[in-house]
Symmetry: C2
Amino acid sequence: MPRYRATVTITLRPAILDVQGKTVEQALHALGFTTVEHVRIGKHITFELEAADRSIATEQCNAMSNQLLANPIIEDYRVTIEDVEP
Amino acid sequence: MPRYRATVTITLRPAILDVQGKTVEQALHALGFTTVEHVRIGKHITFELEAADRSIATEQCNAMSNQLLANPIIEDYRVTIEDVEP
């Protein structure tokens, strides 16, 4: 079966307060980067998987995101699939 | 001054063991996603900043990454800069 490289980017939904982001923003201001605003911190997850084709790989990554990787109540996710060169 | 939207992606260096990634990998196997391998978990940080031009914005983001956002001993970072529509 073909192998794919998946990237799942997980971000907090815009309505959710990002406490970690706020803390980093204040630290950046204290370091002199005073124009920085709207800091949001999410996750960047990469892995490889096998699937019959690209659309099945995408479907599996969506299922993984909904079941484990993301918290769909407060987070959005975006899946990108690339071929792995054999 | 023009505003830019920055994305900083922070990943563990390839030689560094990703304990969190390993744990997620085992959980995905337990859920039936048995072909998943090489799970690596990094950070996806987005923010806006002001700078005279794009190259100064990039330079500032590199400085922020080295000083605060990433741990250069064990992590790599990648900066992407986009224009913010006024």
